[in-house]
Amino acid sequence: MIEMLAHILVLAGLVISALLVFYFRDLMAAALASGFFSFLISLEFYILQAPDVAISQAGIGAGLTTAIFIIAIRGTQRYEEAGK
């Protein structure tokens, strides 16, 4: 029962954070939302009893990918233009 509840919470959080990535105009906030998405995936792996995959997902997906996005935003501009 408690496991089912954790599954539902994590999967709902996945959908919400994936929608937030498209909602934000501030690209730094969008990158952080995508990092939070990866963190929730790693939590889901842990609930499904795959701690090995959870650690590598938390390291590479949530850490390094977000760092690469932030470096790329540093090279361009931070805010998306409102027109398109």
């Binding site: 090995d52 650690i55 390094l64």
Partner: protein, 156 residues
């Protein structure tokens, strides 16, 4: 000369040693707990990425040297292959775990069934974990450092 605010830099300084220590814990206990060389190396590289994102390129190059990271990555791969080749000198096949159950370094034996475990076991699996950990740490840090260096050179 772009860097993040003072709050981010202080938090990165505070978090860095703990992330590195946790990554080394995952590497060293790879044969007892979930994780291993690749996962632990990725965690240590995340700590380095935190510092790289927080500071500017000029400040980073005084902390992390590209040449050191390159040597580190190559050393990891050479150690991994050398651990496999070490058994061939003694007449064993390639990648044979001749240190396990031998009584010497990392050579204690383990009974069958659930037990708490002992750090001094598993033959050369801990050595391979350390080799892969060093390689992944150097490699992933080097990727992010090269991305940042390409950015800063384009501006100048």
């Amino acid at each position: 000369m772009m860097r993040m605010s003072k709050i981010v830099r202080t938090c990165a300084d505070l978090m860095y040693p703990f992330v590195v220590i946790f990554g080394w814990y995952v590497i060293m206990h790879g044969h007892l707990t979930p994780g291993g060389g690749f996962q632990g190396g990725a965690v240590v590289a995340t700590g380095a990425a935190l510092v790289i994102v927080a500071y500017s390129y000029q400040e980073i190059t005084s902390m992390l040297k590209k040449a050191v990271l390159m040597v580190q990555e190559s050393t990891g791969l050479l150690l991994f292959i050398g651990a496999g080749l070490g058994g061939m000198v003694l007449g064993f096949p390639f990648f044979f775990n001749w240190l396990a159950n031998s009584g010497s370094l990392f050579g204690m034996s383990v009974p069958y069934g659930p037990n708490p475990g002992e750090l001094n076991t598993a033959g050369f699996l801990p050595l391979m974990n350390i080799a892969v950990g060093i390689e992944v740490w150097g490699g992933l840090t080097l990727v992010i450092l090269y991305l940042l260096s390409g950015l800063e050179k384009g501006e100048a």
